[in-house]
C-alpha cells in the first residue's frame, strides 16, 4: 500500500494515470466500431503517421501534440477516402502511408538530434514523456472524444451495423465514418506518447476483441471493452512500475492475457 502511495506521489505517475485511463476509455469505445467495420489497420497506420509528425515537430522545435493532432486527423480522412476509391486497395494504401511516415520520422530525427533514446520513446512509449501541458491537452481531448461517442451512440451503432440501411433512412454515413476516423486519430496521437507508435493499435483492437468473445449485445460489448481496457491499463502500469518493464509493452501483455481469459470464458 505504501508502495502504491509512493508510486502516485510522482507527478508524472499521476499524469500518466489520468491520461492513460481516459485514453484507454476512448480507444476501447472507438475500437468496437473500428474492429467491426474492418478498420483495425487504420489505427496502426495512423500511429506511424503520428510518429512521423511527432519526429518532425521535435526536429523543428514545435509543440508535439499541436502538430501531430491535425496531421494525423488529415491522414485519417485521407485513408478513409482512399479506402473508398478503387485506385489503391485500402490495406495497401495504409501500408504505403504508414511506412512513408515512419521513414520521414526516422530521417528527420536522425538529421536533428541523432538516433537516440527519443526515438525509442516514440516507438515504444514512455510514461515520462507527458509534460503538464500535454496532460491537460490530452484530458480535454479525450473527454471530448468520449462525449461525442456517447452523444452519437445510436447513430454510430446504426452506421456500424449497416451503412446502406442508415444511408437509405437519411443518415449521413460518410459524416459518421469521418467522425470515427477523426476521433481515432486524436486517440492514437494522445495514446502514442505513452504506448508508443508500435503498440498503440493494440489498445484499440484488443479490448473490443476480448469483449466480443463474451458479450451478446453491442451495448454490452462497448461497456465491457471499456472496463477491460481500463483494467488492463492499470495492471500494465502497476506491473511496469514494480517490475520495471516498459509501460506500453506491459499494457499490451495485460490486454493479451485478458483476451485469452475472455476467449476461454466465451467458449461454450
Amino acid at each position: 500500500m505504501t508502495a502504491l502511495i509512493q508510486m502516485f506521489s510522482y507527478h508524472f505517475m499521476q499524469r500518466a494515470l489520468i491520461v492513460g485511463v481516459l485514453v484507454s476509455l476512448c480507444a476501447a469505445l472507438l475500437g468496437v466500431s473500428l474492429v467491426l467495420k474492418r478498420y483495425s489497420m487504420i489505427g496502426d497506420g495512423l500511429s506511424h503517421v503520428g510518429f512521423g509528425a511527432l519526429a518532425v515537430a521535435s526536429a523543428l522545435n514545435l509543440a508535439p501534440l499541436a502538430v501531430a493532432v491535425p496531421v494525423v486527423v488529415l491522414a485519417a480522412i485521407l485513408l478513409l477516402r482512399l479506402r473508398q476509391s478503387a485506385a489503391v486497395k485500402g490495406d495497401a494504401a495504409i501500408a504505403m502511408i504508414s511506412s512513408s511516415a515512419l521513414a520521414i520520422g526516422v530521417i528527420s530525427l536522425s538529421l536533428s538530434t541523432g538516433m537516440n533514446t527519443e526515438v525509442s520513446s516514440y516507438l515504444f512509449g514512455s510514461v515520462l514523456s507527458l509534460s503538464r501541458g500535454d496532460a491537460v491537452f490530452s484530458i480535454l481531448l479525450s473527454l471530448a472524444v468520449i462525449a461525442l461517442f456517447v452523444l452519437f451512440y445510436p447513430r454510430i451503432f446504426a452506421v456500424t451495423f449497416d451503412e446502406n440501411f442508415s444511408r437509405a433512412t437519411g443518415t449521413k454515413a460518410e459524416l459518421f465514418n469521418t467522425l470515427l476516423a477523426v476521433l481515432t486519430a486524436i486517440t492514437v496521437v494522445l495514446g502514442m506518447r505513452m504506448m508508443g507508435a508500435l503498440l498503440i493499435s493494440s489498445l484499440i483492437i484488443f479490448p473490443a476483441l476480448s469483449a466480443m468473445r463474451i458479450c451478446r449485445s453491442f451495448k454490452a460489448v462497448v461497456l465491457v471493452s471499456a472496463c477491460i481496457s481500463v483494467l488492463c491499463f492499470l495492471t500494465g502500469l502497476l506491473a511496469s512500475y514494480f517490475l520495471e518493464t516498459p509501460t506500453g509493452a506491459s499494457i499490451v501483455i495485460a490486454d493479451l492475457l485478458a483476451y485469452g481469459i475472455c476467449r476461454l470464458a466465451g467458449r461454450k
Binding site: K37, S217, F218
Partner: protein, 235 residues
C-alpha cells in the same frame, strides 16, 4: 392513388448507361416484384428509389407524404453483419433512426414502436439474443422488423429470401404478403425467384438494362417474355 411514380428514368455509371426507359407507378397497397437477370439494373433501381443514386435523366416522384428516407429498406446482408455482436432489440430499434430528427437518443415512443414490430414478426421472445447466433430466417425477420420501424407506407426488399431454406423462404413470403394485406403497406421486392414473384405480387416489373415489362402479375403470365423467362410457360 399513386404513392410513387417513375418517369423515363435513366441511370448511368461514369457516363455508361446501365438502366434506361423506366416508367412505372405504384399505388398504395400494391405489391411490385422487380425481376431480371443479374446485372439487369435491379440494384441500381433500388439505389435510385432510396435516393442513394441520382438518376441521370427522368424523375422519381413520391406523393401522399412519403419521403425517400421513410422507405422501409431491407438490404442484402453483408459479411460484417453475420458476426456482429448486437442484440435483436438493438438492431430493430436502429430502424427508428429516421424518426430521431434532431434528437440524440431514442424516445419511449420509438422503443415502444420497436417492441410492437418485434411482436408483429414473432421475435419478441428472442429480443436479447445475439443477432449473429440466429438462423437465417430469424435474421431476416429481425431485419424486416427493423424495416417496419422505418416506414408506415412502403417496404423495399432486396432479395429477402436469398440463402434461406425452402421452409424459411415460404414463411418470409407469407409474412411479407400479410404485412402488405393487413397493414396496407406497399411492397417493392427485388427477386431472383420469378415463380414465387408471380405468385405473390400484384404487379411485375421486368428489367434488362431497360424496362422490358410493367403490368399486373396476371398480364405478365400471359406475356411471351414471362413464358421464356419462366421456362416453357409452366406456371
Amino acid at each position: 392513388m399513386a404513392i410513387l411514380e417513375c418517369k423515363d428514368l435513366c441511370f448511368a455509371y461514369e457516363g455508361k448507361r446501365v438502366l434506361e426507359g423506366v416508367n412505372f407507378s405504384l399505388n398504395a397497397g400494391d405489391y411490385l416484384c422487380v425481376v431480371g437477370e443479374n446485372g439487369s439494373g435491379k440494384s441500381t433501381l433500388i439505389k435510385g428509389l432510396l435516393g442513394l443514386k441520382a438518376p441521370e435523366q427522368g424523375s422519381i416522384t413520391l406523393s401522399d407524404g412519403l419521403k425517400a428516407t421513410e422507405i422501409g429498406y431491407l438490404p442484402q446482408q453483408t459479411q460484417v453483419q453475420r458476426d456482429f455482436p448486437a442484440s435483436v432489440y438493438e438492431v430493430v430499434l436502429s430502424g427508428c433512426l429516421n424518426s430521431l430528427g434532431g434528437r440524440l437518443f431514442y424516445t419511449k415512443e420509438l422503443k415502444q414502436r420497436a417492441m410492437e414490430n418485434m411482436e408483429r414478426m414473432g421475435i419478441e421472445e428472442i429480443r436479447d439474443e445475439s443477432y449473429q447466433n440466429l438462423s437465417g430466417g430469424q435474421q431476416q425477420r429481425v431485419l424486416l422488423a427493423r424495416a417496419l420501424c422505418a416506414t408506415k407506407k412502403l417496404l423495399l426488399l432486396d432479395e429477402p429470401v436469398t440463402g434461406l431454406d425452402p421452409i424459411a423462404s415460404g414463411e418470409m413470403y407469407n409474412l411479407i404478403k400479410l404485412i402488405n394485406l393487413c397493414d396496407n403497406i406497399s411492397v417493392i421486392m427485388v427477386s431472383h425467384d420469378i415463380h414465387e414473384a408471380v405468385r405473390y405480387a400484384t404487379h411485375i416489373l421486368h428489367l434488362g438494362h431497360s424496362q422490358l415489362f410493367f403490368g399486373t402479375a396476371a398480364e405478365y403470365r400471359q406475356s411471351s417474355l414471362a413464358r421464356r423467362f419462366l421456362g416453357g410457360g409452366q406456371i
